[in-house]
Symmetry: C2
Subunit: 463 residues, 2 copies
Amino acid sequence: MKQGPYRTYLTEKEFPRTWYNLKADMKEQHDPFLHPGTLQPITAADLEGVFCKEVIEQELNCSDRYIDIPEEILEIYKVYRPSPLCRAYNLEQELGTPAKIYYKFEGLNTSGSHKLNSAVAQAYYSKKQGLSGITTETGAGQWGTALAMACAFFKLDLKVFMVKVSAEQKPYRKAVIENFGAEVIPSPSTTTAAGRGILAEYPEHVGSLGCAISEAMEVSTSTPGYRYCLGSVLDHVMLHQSIIGEEALIAFDMLDEYPDIVIGCAGGGSNLGGIIAPFMGKTLRGEKPETRFIAVEPTSCPSLTRGKYVYDFGDTGKMTPLMRMYTLGSGYQPVATHSGGLRYHGMSPIISKLYHDGHIEAMALPQQEIFDAAKLFSRTETILPAPESNHAIAAAIREALKCKETGEEKTILFNLSGTGYFDMAAYMSYNEGRLVDAVPTDADLQKGFDTIPNIPVNAEALK
Amino acid sequence: MKQGPYRTYLTEKEFPRTWYNLKADMKEQHDPFLHPGTLQPITAADLEGVFCKEVIEQELNCSDRYIDIPEEILEIYKVYRPSPLCRAYNLEQELGTPAKIYYKFEGLNTSGSHKLNSAVAQAYYSKKQGLSGITTETGAGQWGTALAMACAFFKLDLKVFMVKVSAEQKPYRKAVIENFGAEVIPSPSTTTAAGRGILAEYPEHVGSLGCAISEAMEVSTSTPGYRYCLGSVLDHVMLHQSIIGEEALIAFDMLDEYPDIVIGCAGGGSNLGGIIAPFMGKTLRGEKPETRFIAVEPTSCPSLTRGKYVYDFGDTGKMTPLMRMYTLGSGYQPVATHSGGLRYHGMSPIISKLYHDGHIEAMALPQQEIFDAAKLFSRTETILPAPESNHAIAAAIREALKCKETGEEKTILFNLSGTGYFDMAAYMSYNEGRLVDAVPTDADLQKGFDTIPNIPVNAEALK
């Protein structure tokens, strides 16, 4: 029985004007990042050669609950946002569930995902600081596209180190990035010492995110006027992505609704962190103690459900600061899946801390189930989702089917983080019955764990 | 100076509840379709073996100005619509024009274009009539995708005859169609007499729209419970697409604005007919006599600007009724361009009549200019447009630059009919300087004209 609209769009007057800093409501902060050389908590000064200044301030800010979104960023958010809060009436009907299923649809921009929310912010702060260019890495290509769009807007140079096998398998994704004026360099490349070193040892190396990060960081730190940008994991990215949850919260208020369960897929953690932020804040403040939060990861890369909560590097090249997080080890090799955005060994330190403290649940789902969910979803809701987002859909369907058994009329919200237009090879595999659900054995995981450095967790360093 | 919002979305309460039938406001109707055998005006009975009944009624309806949108169709429109009316503030600023540029963005659904508006309607009426399946043809693939989405929703079978070269060059587009459960048959195929005939004569035939239409019509007329659907050209498609202009008109009312110029690209005419419909109605009724309407076509396929206004077939196979329209001849071979959706030899009879009577202007633009326009547009407005839509963008930019010279503050509206996510090969050609702007010579055109049947225009048959 249809009560409210299918889609709720905020008007510009209803837009959030601030980002929400979840850390301000966390009773305990995640452990501090450590300098990989000294093993001491990292300072703003340590980071200034890598990131631009305002981003570093945001990264280290644990006290301000709300941070003003600069007018210049708001003006771009208004160009491609709001993203709609959608009620999945047709999916509900097909499932025969009494649950109300809502999704926030972040795929309605050319980058195809939520990544643009942080890309715009990072490009703006870089421009404001007077930088001339930015470097980054990209795997599946959504982050590279988002940052290329943002840099085109602010007329900043951008060099994207794209995992070589991805650049070769996805020439059209590479073309989108180039269309926005960015330079795409398949990694490993001969343009950096890091790349040349890898190629000298492994001439046929097909690339990895770890290698691309090393190359991007080398170029940014050695080129005057350049800094490096990262699209997930870090606290400032979580901050920028809070716009997702904030818009959803305002829309729910308009509909006089509130979610009982909030679901997001989890790779580095940015879309999950974004959708849950203000709802988690209410729960942490005791205003909504009953809300459940669910992180969904692939069985092939189960950092939360099977990883360790220890200090580890963010990249396989071991150049980043050490972060305490749930990790499979930076040397973990996930078996092949079609969710490139979820193939990350670690997890956002904020998400990791919330999970460790029992505020978030986690589940790992196999490929077959998540593509089955996508098939049902696309045929009822007219949207072709990204394989990453399929994890959130499948978890929402599981919860809705539980409601069908119990008769409970729960309100479920999930983040539909992106579209699958550049992932048709994955859908072809599914439609042709070629999907493989390889679950890592304990021995597979142990190989990854063996690459984790032995750093004691220093309880005194907690704020 | 920003006055109103970037994007205006209608709420469900503000949605149009009727389609607008432009023919009811035309003083003269286009010449009647003729039966290709008898050369007599075609009747509803003649069409019943091909199309479903309600669609035929709409096709022949010249008197009802408004036609109720059935509730079931409205409910799906609400799932993927409204499409936003966008103000191109950033493009205006980049151009330095005093003109106000608005665009209606129809690409925010999985089919990637406006085609879904008619696909949903045609699938609904087919289901309502108790049909079990539909056939159609698709070239670039957007219509095939849209109809596959609609048939998945209504659980109707769908066979899509896809031009073979397109199916081979765009495996991912084919995969999207298949993902929604439709059967895609590369055409020419061995599944029909028409296909087998062509293959017997030309074993290496790469396919054409004309051939695909012949195959689709053969299957629909020989399979019990099947009918055929067409995605453009015909009057009922124009009717369904009027939702585009109607939404735009309501949004303009909310903004207290009205366009001085309305622009759309023109292949078969469906997106142009959709965006102009209610505005043209006001002009024809004398309420807004000054509004200009501009059809934009590629120089490679200039049916309006260089074609003849005569009776011709809609397909190269010469199976369709004869329609009086601007045509280059059904045997015309357009030189290669990247705007597959505009490579049609003819033009909607409604658009043709309005053009013939001086209510619409037309211009033909070269590929280089339209991709230059897309580059500027994508970098300022964050959207990667379909090559077809680039024609409308380029014409809007031309008009905006005229305003810059004269200082006039005109309000320009164009239809951004779709996105270019499956057209990256075209953008790669552009970015790599490989675009070719081949303009047909008079001799090239004459070859097409030679394929036009010699049917006298019977003035008595005009209503």
